[in-house]
Every structure is written in structure tokens, then in C-alpha cells.
């Protein structure tokens, strides 16, 4: 028996990987640190809604007119739900795993985005970038000219004003019909 064991051990030889002197071999789909590309983010909050441990959060500051996206790597479980639900691929799980810190504050990443004000009532209601992106999508889906302008104007209104606008239009249509 000891002979068998010795043979096995000798056959295997050096089993240890040379990390940290050589980069460790990771599989292509390894889920490491979620990497946020703030320029590509529209602050829609889909990731924060999906995030099971609440590592991703969104907070609005109406006084300053900004919405803040935040990730706390100390709470992240690296499930990749944020990557899965992100409509603009602003966040994806990287191969980065060397995340240890001495200072807890370094586990946070934040990004501030401007909130757009409703063109009717002036209330802050949605990230400006999100509205611009929706317009770009409308263009991509073939909406042009007057229709694009009209839908753009609607988009710039808060949901309440949009509803009011709809009612006014509906009443007008009804009156026409009568």
C-alpha cells in the first residue's frame, strides 16, 4: 500500500498552481466582479430591482435633481442577475476576483445621473439619459419626423401629466365623435 501511494504522489508531481506569481487560469464564463460602465448606464434601475442581496441600490435626491446608482461589492453574491437584466449591457461580470480591501469604503462604486424635469409641471420624474435612450430606440424601430417629435414631447412629460394629456385628448376625440 505505501508503495502504491508513493507511486501516485510521484506520478502527480507538482500539483500546486503558481498563483499569485502567475495569473490564475479561469474558465471563460467565470463570474467575478460586476464591472459597471457608467457611460453606458441609463439609470433605469433594472439591476437594483433584480439584485437578490440588495448589493445594487438606486437613490434619488430630488433637491439636487440626481439619481445615484451604487454597488456594494461587500454584499454582492456574483450571481450575474444584473448583467442578465441590463438593457444596455452597462454591467457585466468580469474575471476580476482580487477584491480584498483594508478600507471598507473602497468596496463602493457610485454613479450620479441627472433627473429630467417634466415639461408641463416641472417635477423631476426620470433619468434624462433613460429618456434620450428611449428616443434612440424609437428611431431604431423606424419612427421618424413628426411622429418622433410628438412621441418625444410625450416622453418629456411625467406620468401624471401624460395621463392628464391623454384624458384631454380623449375628451376632445369624444366631442369630435359626438
Amino acid at each position: 500500500m505505501p508503495f502504491k501511494l508513493l507511486r501516485e504522489v510521484l506520478k502527480v508531481g507538482e500539483a500546486t498552481v503558481p498563483y499569485p506569481f502567475v495569473a490564475v487560469d479561469l474558465t471563460p464564463g467565470f463570474r467575478g466582479r460586476p464591472q459597471h460602465d457608467p457611460a453606458q448606464c441609463i439609470a433605469c434601475g433594472a439591476c437594483a430591482v433584480a439584485c437578490p442581496p440588495n448589493a445594487l441600490t438606486m437613490t434619488t435626491n430630488l433637491d439636487e435633481g440626481i439619481i445615484t446608482w451604487q454597488i456594494f461589492y461587500g454584499r454582492c453574491i456574483y450571481c450575474g442577475r444584473c448583467e442578465e437584466v441590463c438593457p444596455t449591457r452597462a454591467i457585466s461580470l468580469s474575471h476580476d476576483f482580487e477584491l480584498a480591501v483594508m478600507n471598507k469604503a473602497d468596496l463602493y462604486e457610485q454613479a450620479d445621473y441627472r433627473l429630467a424635469a417634466c415639461t408641463r409641471c416641472g417635477v423631476l420624474f426620470a433619468p434624462a439619459k433613460e429618456l434620450t435612450y428611449v428616443l434612440a430606440l424609437l428611431e431604431q424601430s423606424g419612427v421618424t419626423g413628426d411622429e418622433l417629435a410628438e412621441r418625444g414631447a410625450l416622453l418629456a412629460m411625467c406620468p401624471t401629466c401624460r395621463r392628464k394629456n391623454d384624458i384631454v385628448k380623449l375628451v376632445a376625440l369624444n366631442q369630435e365623435a359626438v
Binding site: L5, V12, A15, R31, L93
Partner: protein
């Protein structure tokens, strides 16, 4: 209640008929959640009779007991006893029979079943902790789940008790759990933990010793109680919980995730695509691979064969790499969605995994051979830590622990799920009832799992891996179950409204294995205690100190746990002397 479409034949109807013949009008209501899942509502006072009848007369095994505060729905508390009814040895019809009773809110008590069916002891203590519903006739008045510093009148799972984030002031600074008292000439009490030896979770053990022999044992677990069930019922939506269930156990988390997902899929009548079923099967077996290698490594360690321990951990890394390749994480975490799976297997992954399987087959064959030919392995494990078949029958333990005592019981066969009825494989059981049998089962199951992963990869069907566009049905409920590496994991889920879960109860395999451990320790020597605890595979954790209490002298002696572990390995110079 959701009535299942009549199309599927009901499996287990004859058990329902037998119960009706015995109890007649005491059975108030019958509803089927799936073809082999029936819930029967019975009169509260007939509960012990009915559960005992199903357990001992119809060949039932207690899978879980669910307490539920259904006052907002129907004005009552409810309790569900979930039994896997399997008849005798020759029986082929197997079904889950759930016995439900309503408990009036003004008199929150029910007749304890535990005096008739010992397997119910822990469950009924847990229901008392979490809901404040008293099991009348329960001898054991101690807490099970809640910490010693928790206020006595606060029952977290009552819907009106508290916010899930509420943290009451600790009522005390010291633990006050009352361990059993064993009296006798020369009996020495040995407390271990909570930061200690062989368990997954921190746990506090007391061994009652007569010289070198264990007379009895008692333990306090649930040091890791976090309040997951309350979390699932409050903060999370039903489709986020799959990521929570991964984190029930660091080793068989994926099994829990599948058990949860299938419970919801069954409740909502979602047909999971065949390809996703195969991938789930592959991942479940990959999980068994790394879990069994871990336990085999530990078996080496506890018989003093540390080189073997290191060698098993070396080859185990290949199974971890397999998990990383197939899921993106070394822990098979984060792979389930309600309705399917999150990652497909393409050619590159398939080829690589098949190659690793071939390598592992050779490596582990050689290591197991080396382990079994180690001179003292049989001597240290044969006849040690016996789980007698009658004790097993009374306590419903699960997994290799039960299969080592001659029961041919594996949920993958009894209640096939995923692709287990589509690929050929065999269950392993042994009759030695000892540590050796349990170790051999794990070694053999490792190779069965290797074959199964290869089979699934070779015969995996085409098609999608996710079902979308299903309807959320408020208040529907069902069971989900998986044979995890340590045995049956079972989840009972009831949907609420507003994309939430109303009640979710999960039961991990070790929960059913712990209560019988006391009987497995009795009569063995002190030095074999870590080996026996490890043989039920509760994983192992931190170590601390062992305090030896001599009841006669009322003196306390502290022994470093390392000493006990060393003693287990070397068996020289007992620290008790």
C-alpha cells in the same frame, strides 16, 4: 386549492383510500398538487392517529412538517405533516401525502405527534419556536431554533409578529440552554463547541462518558439561524429566492435551489424543458461529486491518513473546475430560474467535462483503492457508529446515512425528478449500519455520478432551456424535493400575491440526520466521536475546546479540541485521563 387537470393519473390514490377506510369523516378535504402529491385536511384531534397510521402502517417516512400562519387567508394557523408514502419493500406506487390540520387562533395548540412518531420531535419544537403554537404532550420543552437571547413571546414567522428586520434586544448575555442530565456512577459530561469539530454549522455537543465510553449525547444546533424563511416571505420576490436557496448550504446549495424551483414550478404547473432538466441533473451530480470527495477526504483525516486527505482534496479541485466551467462559479451557485436554467452547455464545455470525467475515474479509483487498503481503515470504521435499522425507521434519516443501514431509499428513484428517470443508473445501499458502510456508499456513488454526468452529456435533448410566460397563481402550493449528497432536501412553498411567497419551508437533509446521531454515538469510544459525526457528513467547521465536566467531582477540565482530534487520529494518551 388548485385542482390538478384530470388528465394525469393520480399516483397514491390507494393510500388515500386506505386512510378514508380507516378514518372516514375525520378526513375533511382532499386536493392534489401534482400527480403524486396529495394534501388531506383532517380534524385537528385526529392528527397523531392519522400521522402514525400513515407512518407505520402505510410505509410513510416523515419528510417535513410545515407550520403556517394562515390567519389572513382563512382565519387559522395550519400545520402540514409531509410524508413520503412508500408501502413495503415490494411496493411500486410511491407518493407524497400531506396531512393538514387547521388550528384555531384563540387556542394555538395541537396534539403532539412526536410521542407516536419520534421523527416529528424537532419539527414540533421548531413550530413552537417560530409560531408560538404549542404541541400538547411534547415532553421536550426546550427551544430548538431561536437563540437563547431571543424574547420568549416573539414568534418570528407569525404574520403579525414583527418586521423581518426587527432586532430585539438580547434578553441575556449567556447561553442558558438546558442539556439533558445523565446521572450515574462515574459518568462524565463532555461539552464541545459551539466553535468546534466536525459540523457544517457551529453546534454545541455534550457527550456523557463512562470512562472511555459514550453513554449518551445531546446537542444544541441552530447557531446559524438567520431567518431565511422570513426573508423569503418578505423582502424577496418568488423568482429571487432561487439565489437565496443556493446559500442554505455551502456544499449542496444547488440541490436546495432545484428543490425550491421545482416546488414553484409544480405549484404553477410550469413544464420545464427537457434540456433544462438534463442540465439540472448534470449539475446536481457534479455537486455530489465534489461533496462525496470532501467526505472521503475527511474519512482519511479521521483515521489518521492525512496524505489521503490531501490527495482527495487535490482531485476534488477537478470537480470544482467542472462546476466553474458549467456554471461560472465554483459552487454551482446561481443557475436556476423559475422555469429553467441560466446557462446552456455548448460543445466546448461538453468536451472538456467528458475529458475530466475520464481523468477523475482513474484518479479516484486509485485513491479509493489506497484508502481501503490502508491497514486500519476497516478496523477503525467497521461496527463503529451503528445506526440500527429500527432507530432509522423511527427517525426518518436520509441519504447515505440511511442507505448504510440497509434501506434502499433514494429520492431520485422513489420520486424521480429532473432527468433521473431518463438515464440508467443504480442506487447503492449497504447493510453494515456503520461508518464503513456509509463511507463505501459515498465512494461507490461517486462513480455512479460520474457515469450519470457522462450519460446526460451524451444524450442531452435539443430545445430551449427556459420556459417563459407562465401565469402566477396566488396561494397555490406544492412540494419540491431533491436527493442531495446528504439525502433528501424538501421544500414546501405557497405563493402569496404580488409576486411574493406566502410561506416557504425548507428542510435540509442533515435536519433529519441529527436526531438519530445520539443513538449512533452511544456505546462507542470517545476517540471515535469525531469519526461518527463526520460519517453522517454534516461537513466540518471550526474547532474550539472540549470541556470535560466530571459530575462526581463537580470539576471542570478543559481539553483542547485539537487534543480530541489528535486522539481520534492517534488513539494514544487519552485526554480524559
Amino acid at each position: 386549492m388548485i385542482e390538478l387537470a384530470e388528465a394525469k393519473p393520480k399516483v397514491g390514490q390507494k393510500y388515500v383510500d386506505a386512510m378514508r377506510a380507516q378514518f372516514g369523516g375525520k378526513i375533511l378535504e382532499e386536493s392534489w398538487q401534482a400527480a403524486e402529491q396529495v394534501t388531506l385536511m383532517v380534524e385537528l384531534n385526529s392528527l397523531p392517529d392519522v400521522v402514525e397510521f400513515v407512518y407505520y402502517r402505510l410505509g410513510g417516512w416523515l419528510s417535513t412538517v410545515v407550520g403556517s400562519d394562515e390567519r389572513p387567508i382563512n382565519g387559522h394557523f395550519a400545520i402540514y405533516y409531509v410524508l413520503s408514502v412508500e408501502g413495503d419493500e415490494t411496493e411500486t406506487e410511491k407518493a407524497y401525502v400531506v396531512i393538514r390540520a387547521l388550528i384555531p387562533p384563540h387556542q394555538p395548540e395541537f396534539p403532539a405527534v412526536a410521542s407516536r412518531v419520534p421523527a416529528a420531535v424537532w419539527y414540533e419544537r421548531e413550530v413552537r419556536d417560530m409560531f408560538g403554537i404549542q404541541p400538547v404532550g411534547m415532553v421536550d420543552k426546550r427551544r430548538l431554533v431561536l437563540p437563547d437571547d431571543w424574547p420568549p413571546e416573539l414568534h418570528p414567522l407569525r404574520k403579525d409578529a414583527m418586521d423581518y428586520r426587527f432586532r430585539p434586544t438580547p434578553t441575556r448575555e449567556e447561553e442558558n440552554y438546558e442539556f439533558i442530565q445523565v446521572e450515574g456512577e462515574g459518568v462524565v459530561e463532555v461539552p464541545l463547541g459551539p466553535l468546534h469539530m466536525t459540523s457544517d454549522e457551529p453546534g454545541h455537543f455534550r457527550l456523557y462518558m463512562d470512562g472511555e465510553h459514550i453513554v449518551d449525547a445531546d446537542y444544541r444546533l441552530f447557531y446559524v439561524h438567520r431567518g431565511m424563511e422570513k426573508l423569503a416571505e418578505s423582502r424577496m420576490t418568488y423568482d429571487q429566492i432561487t439565489f437565496l436557496t443556493d446559500r442554505i448550504c455551502g456544499i449542496c446549495g444547488y440541490a436546495h435551489s432545484v428543490a425550491y424551483s421545482t416546488s414553484i414550478e409544480r405549484a404553477l404547473g410550469i413544464e420545464v424543458p427537457a434540456r433544462a432538466q438534463y442540465i439540472r441533473t448534470i449539475l446536481l451530480e457534479v455537486e455530489r461529486l465534489h461533496s462525496h470527495l470532501l467526505n472521503l477526504g475527511l474519512a482519511c483525516h479521521f483515521v489518521g491518513f492525512d496524505t489521503g486527505f490531501m490527495q482527495f482534496f487535490r482531485v476534488r479541485e477537478k470537480t470544482m473546475k467542472m462546476a466553474e466551467l458549467l456554471t461560472g462559479a465554483r459552487k454551482t451557485y446561481g443557475m436556476n430560474l423559475i422555469g429553467g436554467i441560466r446557462k446552456d452547455i455548448l460543445k466546448e464545455e461538453r468536451t472538456q467535462v467528458l475529458q475530466w470525467i475520464a481523468e477523475l475515474r482513474g484518479e479516484v479509483t486509485r485513491l479509493v483503492d489506497i484508502l481501503l487498503n490502508t491497514p486500519n481503515i476497516v478496523q477503525r470504521t467497521a461496527g463503529i457508529g451503528r445506526l440500527e435499522p429500527n432507530v432509522a425507521r423511527d427517525y426518518s434519516p436520509v441519504g447515505p446515512n440511511l442507505r448504510g443501514s440497509g434501506f434502499h431509499r433514494d429520492i431520485r428513484v422513489i420520486h424521480p425528478y429532473c432527468a433521473y428517470d431518463r438515464v440508467p443508473w443504480t442506487t447503492i445501499s449497504k447493510t453494515g449500519c456503520d461508518v464503513l458502510s456509509r463511507t463505501l456508499i459515498r465512494a461507490e456513488e461517486f462513480f455512479v455520478s460520474l457515469d450519470m454526468v457522462a450519460q446526460c452529456l451524451e444524450t442531452i435533448p435539443e430545445g430551449p432551456i427556459l420556459t417563459e410566460g407562465f401565469a402566477y397563481k396566488p396561494y397555490s402550493f406544492a412540494l419540491g424535493y431533491v436527493e442531495a449528497p446528504r439525502g433528501e432536501d424538501i421544500h414546501w412553498s405557497m405563493l402569496g400575491d404580488n409576486q411574493k411567497i406566502y410561506r416557504w419551508k425548507c428542510r435540509a437533509s442533515s435536519y433529519n440526520n441529527w436526531p438519530a446521531l445520539r443513538y449512533m454515538l452511544r456505546g462507542n469510544t470517545f476517540s471515535d466521536a469525531p469519526l461518527i459525526v463526520a460519517s453522517i457528513d454534516p461537513c466540518y467547521s471550526c474547532t474550539e475546546r472540549v470541556t470535560v465536566v466530571d459530575i462526581r467531582k463537580k470539576s471542570v477540565k478543559t481539553v483542547a479540541y485539537k487534543e480530541l482530534e489528535r486522539y481520534c487520529v492517534e488513539r494514544k494518551d487519552s485526554p480524559l485521563k
